[in-house]
């Protein structure tokens, strides 16, 4: 009885119906995800439709969202299970089907690669001005409360508190310093304006924040706009408070206080990830076609310095030609400041090779299969020609 049920389940899992339904569902998801990009931005739509197991929708009048549609992750998982089951169930060493087996093995790898990308890929960026040396990456989305010890003009000591820790009411000790930071209020996104006469007093009593009016806003939806992440904070050391400050990613002016002879600079900035090597931008080039403003090429000539490995070399990063180093790929992404500032996109994806391998497999499999089919067709035609 149980055995019969198991057999039926197994047969169902390996069946072609499941494949077809899953493929059609995937098509519907792709269409929905594409259309949703106008409202949610690419990342928002991909997270909502492709990287989720269920697509949730908040219905009017209901206190909780409802799962309306299977998500890309679920469909992908079903496809992989279905394919694996089909491969196991129907596998026989029939050379005529060899191509198809290879194709489907490659497909499993391709979907696995997309899962790996969704789970492990980390996107960061590196912003360098010409002549500047940078040894950290910046997050695109996460922010941190930056604390820079600038006492020694030759060497700045950097500390950062990532935004998940910046919750109102929290008190976060800064490792390596005697300081701890009280978070009084935190805004994922906010609008800042000069405080007018009638506005309520600011929470800040130190720095520029005292004259700023701040209004909380919804987090940015599209990929283009960034958040103006802000917080009211109070640095405390040994029982002494240094006042309440407003820090925000859109406030450029440096704000600092002195504790026991050491000067600390406060800032809200993109979260930093420090590297064991440094990159110097020697030259950024923005070539255009003569007589037009159509860009022909963007390139960054950088110097890579990794003393631990004894590496000192120049690298030219340009369109379609990233630098792959230390498990990361550095791409020319953007530029600024009158072509003296280069922004490199830095991607770490441990699964980046998977699509390449799977593509090779699938292409090979398709070629084998179509050669076999073509060969058989020609043979059939010849046979029927002889009999006719």
């Amino acid at each position: 009885m149980i055995k019969a049920l198991a057999v039926r389940c197994w047969n169902f899992l390996a069946s072609l119906q499941v494949t077809i339904v899953a493929l059609v569902l995937l098509m519907a998801l792709v269409v929905l995800c594409t259309l949703a990009q106008t409202d949610l931005g690419t990342l928002g739509a991909v997270n909502a439709y492709m990287r989720s197991f269920l697509v949730w929708r908040q219905m009017r009048g209901l206190p909780f969202p409802l799962p309306l549609f299977p998500g890309g992750a679920l469909v992908g998982l079903v496809l992989v299970l279905n394919l694996t089951a089909a491969l196991v169930k129907r596998f026989d060493f029939n050379p005529r089907k060899l191509g198809l087996w290879v194709v489907h093995a490659g497909l499993i790898l391709l979907v696995a690669g997309e899962f790996a990308t969704g789970a492990f890929q980390v996107d960061t960026r590196m912003t360098i001005e010409e002549g500047q040396t940078v040894h950290f990456l910046e997050s695109y989305r996460q922010m941190e409360l930056g604390l820079s010890d600038v006492t020694d003009p030759a060497h700045t000591e950097e500390y950062g508190i990532p935004d998940p820790l910046l919750r109102a009411g929290a008190s976060v000790p800064v490792p390596g310093t005697p300081l701890s930071i009280k978070i009084k209020r935190f805004y994922v996104n906010a609008e800042l304006a000069p405080r007018a006469a009638g506005d309520p007093p600011s929470m800040a009593n130190m720095g520029v924040g005292a004259n700023v009016k701040i209004t909380e806003t919804a987090p940015a939806a599209s990929d283009k706009e960034g958040n103006a992440t802000s917080a009211f904070i109070e640095p405390v050391a040994g029982g002494t408070s240094y006042g309440t400050w407003l820090v925000s990613s859109v406030l450029g002016a440096p704000q600092s206080f002195i504790h026991e002879g050491r000067t600390y600079l406060l800032s809200m900035r993109p979260r930093r990830y420090y590297l064991p090597y440094a990159v110097t931008l020697k030259k950024f080039s923005h070539d255009i076609y003569p007589g037009t403003d159509i860009p022909k090429n963007f390139s960054s000539l950088v110097h890579l310095s990794n003393p631990a490995k004894g590496e000192e070399r120049d690298v030219l990063i340009y369109m379609n030609q990233p630098l792959r180093y230390d498990g990361k790929a550095f791409y020319q992404a953007s530029y600024g400041k009158g072509d003296t500032l280069s922004i490199l996109q830095v991607v770490a994806n441990p699964g980046w090779l998977l699509p390449y391998i799977s593509c090779a497999l699938i292409t090979l499999g398709l070629l084998v299969h179509f050669c076999i089919t073509l060969f058989n067709a020609i043979k059939r035609r010849q046979l029927s020609g002889e009999t006719a």
Binding site: L16, Q17, T19, I20, L23, V24, L26, M27, V30, V31, C33, T34, L35, Q37, T38, T42, A45, V46, M50, G113, E114, T117, Q121, D123, I288, Y289, P290, G291, T292, I294, P295, K296, N297, F298, M319, N320, Q321, P322, A329, Y331, A333, Q345, V346, V347, N349, W352, P355, Y356, C359, I362, T363, L366, F370, T373
Partner: protein
């Protein structure tokens, strides 16, 4: 026997002879050697091209046609450009601006009528108002503009282009280059030459010996440089040609142009050769002629179903072959002229999709010899060239490639493969349409032909899956090389993925026996919808890294196409001649 064989090839040969005849130079107009003028190379839009290309592309953008009717004659693009450069008052009176939008017409105080073409003089009184409206609309992103705002921005951009061209060799109110050369050194001249240098659309003065290949100058820059130094020799010849044209003296004009040509031949022989080839390409218009030949092939084939099939079906095939040859020569010419793989933008993708479908159709016809290969190939070729013809209104079709696209390797591999995948999916869809129409129209259904159509469709779907998949994957690899991710769910990528998935769905349904002939055909027609949305619909979303070619007006055309395909699917699934009364 041999005679009838010759007769079947005759239509194709005649078509080719007619194509060759268009390459012959036309007679001089009013004695002016406009041909030689049109061949002169200039630098515009980042590349060297003949003046004829500048004139044609501009006229296409402004008027959507390659000629202007004026004073009882049709002016060609070169003559129009000459008027614009040297007889601006005349050019301002020529009806070159096509305005279709009723609200824009209303803005100018005009009613919608049969006449849709207006001269600059007719628009001039409302210039300020148009500029104000366009500036206000330009502040919005193009996706948020209303139809009127898009139309007024479009008109404003065409007016700017017209104005730039008019001020490209000398200012519109200039007494001529001779006097400009004599006036050098005066403060007014410095001012005038500065504004000329800023306004000019193209650079006509070839780099002098010792200068780099990109150092082309416009006449304004040339006049500024000539202050206190020897003028660029071409300036003097240009002055002669201009004065001759203005005064109606062909000898002076022809001499000036001949001098210019000689000078360029010395300075930049390669530019002159390139301009010559492109000029010839422009004059023959292989894609337009190919389109005409495809229509003839289609008509001949239709006729063959009514009369003398033995004679007309091969004749139709010979026309198809002639059309394919002209199409191929055009495609190869573009590749050589541009130094790029065949697909570089939306326009060339249309040309290439059609070409690949035609070649596949020719192969199918040779394999099965039922006439259906000819029918689908000719309709695919005709449809794609019509689309390309309309896409050419957007400007220079051999524009330069933006930085990330500037990679011949990926253009040749990813773009070509994915486009062949489009061709295959469309071809399968067209065969399925032929199947549907035949099912309802043909008096009797020969089962062998039905079998052939189904086999063809099945084979083409396999082919399309192979190419669209490999092309999509190559695109992923390119994206990994340039943007740091293999797959980003970008709209264009999603469009390509949909084609792959749909072809896979069709094949799996077929293998599982969930669909038979009719279902296969209906699915193949649905493939047309998916491919057209992926090809053009994505550009209308205006998001994502791939949306280089945004289109405003094609939306409704696409909507009608989708509706027509849905209707065909229904027709395909209905029983044969369902409308006729059933006999008992």
């Amino acid at each position: 026997m041999k005679l009838s064989k010759l007769f079947t090839w005759l239509p194709g040969l005649i078509a080719l002879a007619a194509v060759l005849a268009t390459a012959l130079p036309p007679a001089r107009i009013r004695g002016f050697d406009m041909d030689k003028f049109g061949r002169l190379p200039v630098l515009e839009g980042g590349r060297v091209k003949p003046l004829d290309s500048v004139a044609r592309n501009a006229l296409l953008m402004i008027r959507s046609k390659q000629s202007v009717p004026f004073e009882g004659r049709e002016l060609g693009p070169d003559e129009w450009l000459l008027d614009l450069l040297f007889r601006p008052q005349t050019a301002d009176a020529q009806p070159v601006f096509v305005i279709n939008d009723p609200d824009v017409l209303g803005l100018m105080g005009l009613k919608q009528s049969a006449n849709r073409y207006f001269s600059f003089d007719a628009i001039a009184p409302r210039l300020q108002e148009i500029e104000n409206q366009a500036r206000a609309a330009q502040a919005l992103e193009s996706a948020q503009r209303s139809r009127f705002q898009n139309a007024v921005v479009n008109l404003y951009e065409r007016l700017l282009l017209f104005n730039q061209l008019e001020n490209s060799v000398q200012l519109g109110d200039s007494p001529g280059l001779y006097l400009e050369l004599q006036a050098l050194g005066t403060p007014q001249a410095a001012e005038r030459n500065k504004s000329l240098a800023g306004a000019a659309r193209f650079r006509i003065l070839a780099p002098l010996p010792g200068q780099g290949p990109d150092a082309w100058q416009n006449t304004g820059e040339g006049l500024i440089a000539a202050n206190g130094a020897a003028p660029h020799p071409a300036l003097v010849s240009l002055a002669l040609a201009g004065a001759g044209y203005k005064a109606g003296q062909p000898e002076a004009f022809n001499q000036g142009v001949a001098e210019l040509q000689g000078l360029t031949a010395n300075l930049r022989p390669q530019a002159l050769r390139h301009a010559d080839s492109e000029f010839l390409f422009n004059r023959i218009q292989p894609f337009y002629l190919g389109m005409v030949i495809y229509v003839l092939a289609l008509l001949t084939l239709f006729a063959s179903w009514l009369w003398r099939r033995d004679l007309l079906q091969p004749a139709a095939f010979s026309l198809l072959a002639a059309g394919a040859l002209v199409h191929t020569v055009g495609l190869v010419s573009r590749i050589l002229l541009q130094g790029r793989p065949p697909v570089t933008n939306l326009y060339s993708s249309a040309v290439f999709v059609g070409w690949a479908a035609v070649i596949l159709g020719v192969i199918l016809e040779r394999m099965y010899r039922k006439g259906f290969g000819t029918a689908v190939a000719a309709s695919a070729g005709f449809a794609s060239l019509i689309i390309a013809h309309h896409l050419a209104m957007e400007g220079d079709t051999m524009e330069m490639m933006r930085a990330v696209l500037d990679s011949n390797f990926w253009l040749a591999t990813h773009v070509v493969t994915v486009t062949v995948g489009y061709s295959g999916t469309f071809l399968a869809g067209i065969i399925a349409i032929a199947y549907t129409l035949r099912k309802h129209i043909a008096p009797t259904l020969d089962p062998a032909t039905t079998r052939t159509l189904v086999d063809m469709t099945y084979g083409i779907v396999c082919f399309a899956l192979l190419f669209s998949f490999v092309g999509t994957v190559l695109g992923g690899i390119w994206a990994d090389q340039s943007w740091g991710r293999f797959w980003g769910w970008d709209p264009k990528e999603n469009g390509a993925l949909l084609i792959v998935l749909w072809n896979a769905v069709i094949l799996h349904c077929r293998w599982g026996d969930y669909i038979r002939d009719k279902g296969l055909m209906a699915c193949a027609i649905f493939g047309n919808i998916i491919t057209s949305l992926s090809w053009f619909g994505v550009n209308m979303l205006g998001i994502g890294l791939h949306s280089y070619g945004f289109m405003d007006q094609a939306f409704w055309v696409l909507a009608w196409f989708v509706a027509s395909q849905l209707a065909l699917i229904v027709l395909c699934l209905m029983p044969r001649r369902f409308w006729a009364a059933r006999t008992t």
